[in-house]
Subunit: 106 residues, 4 copies
């Protein structure tokens, strides 16, 4: 992922776009891209969604997530691993097994 | 990132949650998490947003993005690098430098 | 608003689209349209957003909100008025005046 | 709807919240509420979603949509009716009947 972040920075800086990339607008862009990804599934079942478009839109989502992580000097892998640890306590296996009732995340 | 994906799979399977994780609902979850991240910036400027909450919500966004990539057998780093190549053609430096006019993504 | 709901139903039924309009997909469509509205403000300040586009996208948001209300046989005006009453208790003037700290909604 | 808009203005002004309600943040709030509505349907079919929660979250969506319409001095009913006219041309009955293929909105 470090390679991807490096390339995203280069892409941005070659276009002098850092001026637009304040964290609030990056969060907007991330949410907008996640919504474009969601649109691929609108009015249809998962099987009928176009995998090629999923690949493209998911790449956009990841790109903005990495740029936002970079803006806060966060390591993407590290924060995911830490969040899993938190969720392991929040959703103990004994109480969570086979039920989506209580959790709205992860 | 491979380590994070492996741990996310383990977390999910220990709770028998794969049954809920069809790609359409994963895309919903991703969009919902991106919106929770956005909420941290609501009614305020980027400087006033809480970095600790950004870290937590961004981790959730990344987690679902990785699970969705995994569902389609996509390599997260690879699809981001490929998308940058596409965008390099779509937004040539000479025409894109310093202007956010034409692009709505990346 | 009753006139608008009536016309939305006619538009939908003339195209035989009710089959796609289950509440889950209507909620997806509403969220996607709200995101398209948000995109008008991306990378810019509110003053630089195009009011003509706001009008178009806001109309889409309202259309899906009305269709969803209709699906649950809810009166749009009535549920807004009821929610204001709830929020009047939740955000008493004495504690809420001039501060956005506590509320994330309305 | 005029009654609801009037009450929303009173609610906002009694708390001196107009200072936070610039159109960009109103669009953020609208998108966030639409996402909370969507969350009611996450990991489940439409039938299993809680209608009481739909009512509450849909009211929030409508409230922000009305406040945004008000900020741009738009009549909610009027813009919906106008958008239906536009969509009648965009999606002629003869070509749209029974297919969700081409349209991503309304």
């Amino acid at each position: 992922m470090q390679e991807a972040i490096k390339r995203l920075r280069q892409f941005r800086d070659a276009r002098d776009w850092k001026q637009f990339h304040n964290p609030k607008d990056l969060a907007l862009a991330l949410s907008i891209e996640a919504s474009e990804l969601l649109e691929i599934f609108l009015w249809k079942s998962a099987e009928d969604a176009d995998p090629g478009r999923v690949k493209e839109e998911l790449a956009d989502v990841l790109a903005y997530a990495l740029l936002l992580a970079d803006a806060y000097e966060l390591d993407p892998t590290e924060i995911v691993l830490k969040k899993i640890e938190i969720n392991e306590k929040k959703y103990p296996i004994s109480k969570s097994r086979g039920t989506a009732k209580k959790y709205t995340e992860l």
